[in-house]
Amino acid sequence: MSDNDNKKPTGDSQTPPKGSPSETREAPGSTPKHPPAGAKLDTPPAAHSGPTGTPPPPAAKPAGPPPPKNPGFVTCTIDGKEVVVKPGTNMIEAARMVGSDIPYFCYHPRLSIAANCRMCMVEASNAPKLVPGCQTPLVEGQVIKTTTPKVKEQQRAVMEFLLLNHPVDCSICDQAGECKLQDYYMRYDYRPSRLEGGKVMKNKRKVLGPRVVLDQERCIICSRCVRFMNEIPKEPQLGIFGRGSHEVIDTFPGSELNSNYSLNTVDICPVGALLSRDFRFRARSWFLSAAPSVCTGCSRGCNTYADFMGQDTYRYRPRENEAVNKSWMCDHGRETYKGLNLGRVLSAVVGRQQGITARPEVARKEAIQAAAKALSGVKGQVAVLASPVASNEDLLAALTFAKTTLGAKEVYVGGRPQGQADHYLLTADRNPNRKGLEMIAQGLGLALKPFEDLAKAMDGGKVKALYAVGTEVPGNLEAFSAAASKLDVFVAQSTNESALTAQATVLLPASAHVEFDGSFVQVDGLIQRFRKAYPSKGDAVGHWALAAELTREMGGTAAWTSSREVFRELGKQVTGFAEFDWDKSAPPDREKPGINPLPTAADGRPPGYREFGAPRVRGL
């Protein structure tokens, strides 16, 4: 930066800068003078036809106005473009259809309308004053203008008002880079501060609950979080307290924000006021890339974005899916990202762990050879444990290997233990792919048997060899591990270390679901694709690839080189998979809601991959 640009701030007069881009040049001087910004909030819910919130009856009009142009729909004009919408559609949604962006903070399509931020005020032909676009349904023949000087002046005034008491926090704020205040400031205000004197001080780190912390100074009181807690999980834990510039969001006295959906308030917070205690200060959002993925926390299969940098996932964010999770996901699911980073099996190991001594790590190829040798000796007597945490592709390949090469006829179902379902999204079954496992076993003609049978059989010494695809077990882990320590052959493919993996005679590292392309079948039978975020950590490859290597090592044929091919070749046998278009069902990987900070994938590295490792961030 230069030494010489410490010129005096010239914004006192609030004249728009000279020579600004030509498309906004009509703004200067002549703009009608509006009441001061502070008065804006007192504007009564602007005049509009039809009662607030309820759609106006489209056809039942007095004789005066002309009949609707498109019966059953409302036809009006937004920025000179004609738009036909269903009755009751508000202006923001209608404007979006014709490519006009009406800015907003407090509006959220899935929440009730508050119309308190006043950012979406537009000019309507049938109202003398500006009307809030979020609250006002369109009426027949209305002409809406979203870019007039009057509207621009309003937007500028609102932005100035919102920034008046906003702390100078961008450099330490987690929201920076995906903050609506920043975006809108650059688009609608871009003028210096006129504030003289200090800003209102509030509590900068108010811990609201186990997962959420609030910076009250940054809050713009849009009330999205309050409405969310009231309306979506229906656990009213937040409220607005105080008046005027001392208004704050807080929990009710004696209670805390401990809902299982509390982190959604962090997502919908348009500014950096509500923060995830887990994610706080760990990464700057513009360094993160997002991969469309699916949550593995339970069988609901909420659609997510896995935000990652390097080969680490930093957080999950919900991805919109009307059929599954709308725009939300639960806190339980969000925390499952940690298993992708920590406690991973990163390299192959041959031989059981003795005490605490580290076992020698071997190249995967050697381990595969060792596993193949061990399994060859016990063909036909190998019990197969399959985990419903693994993806369809993994299970297809591994169970095909078990059936054709190992000669297995039945499969024991492992997986995480059952939990408590909650009242909204979280299901009791904490495995993302139980449906998929059932479908695949049926398709391949394998019988599914409960885990308890395996535990009993092992206790009884009937099972001497075990091949495990995923080492999550629903029963008592210690007891089962102890039983496993007596096995002659225990080949385990695992993503995460546990007491059980320590007992494997051959342990093979498997990729987690963000590390390859694949699919899950969620609880309602919906097949959902997820995308690869980054290359597998360590020496890991997918379960399917391990199965393919084992098959080849044991003399079978497995020509698959990608999870896509696995699904294409083996999925044919499974009813329900045949009509699933694996490629087309993949979520687009170039989008990220909000702003797209940096197109990191453009340079040929995997998105988010940094040549010299991840930047040093706290908490890792």
């Binding site: 453009a602 340079d603 040929g604 590295r605």
Partner: protein, 175 residues
């Protein structure tokens, strides 16, 4: 900005001009059908006195909203008598990236066409010597295409045999 040249071209070869528009800064543009390109270039040079050949380049529209056809080759020619540039472009599809060369008309187009071939992989039919110009012949791919990764690596290539170079005394080159 003047639309003189493009007006004349449109009048002379109405079939050659697919589209006319002004860009946001007021520059007049025409989209020329590839097959009429040499004719239009010759007309501009010989009849309209647009003789100073300025440049050619291409745009890979892969990531833009309108990306079919994928490439646009842009031409700029200057008139020393009228003191203005004429700008026109030719759209090139990804499947058949080949357009006629205008090197027979403007010798200055020679290296620019080689440049476009080098970096975008668009061939110019009738170019006398269409080699790569800045990159080496063994280079794989065309790096200014948007699907060429920023940090893509090229394979190592064996040293070329130096047969045509007469070497004097000294140790270099003697095994």
């Amino acid at each position: 900005m003047s639309t003189f040249a493009l007006d004349r071209v449109t009048a002379q070869f109405p079939e050659a001009v697919a589209e006319r528009y002004l860009d946001r800064t007021g520059g007049a543009w025409a989209v020329i059908h590839a097959e009429h390109l040499p004719k239009v270039a010759a007309f501009l040079k010989n009849e309209l006195d647009f003789k100073l050949f300025t440049s050619i380049d291409a745009v890979d529209r892969l990531h833009l909203a309108e990306n079919d056809p994928r490439f646009e080759v842009v031409y700029f020619i200057y008139s020393l008598s009228r003191h203005e540039h004429v700008r026109f472009k030719v759209r090139v599809s990804e499947n058949r990236p080949e357009i006629p060369s205008i090197t027979p008309v403007f010798r200055g187009a020679d290296w620019w066409e080689r440049f476009v071939w080098d970096f975008y992989g668009i061939r110019f039919a009738g170019h006398p010597d269409l080699r790569r110009v800045l990159l080496y012949e063994e280079f794989q791919g065309h790096p200014l295409r948007k699907d060429y990764a920023l940090r893509d690596r090229q394979p190592l290539i064996p040293e070329r045999p130096i047969k045509d170079i007469f070497r004097g005394p000294g140790t270099s080159g003697v095994s």
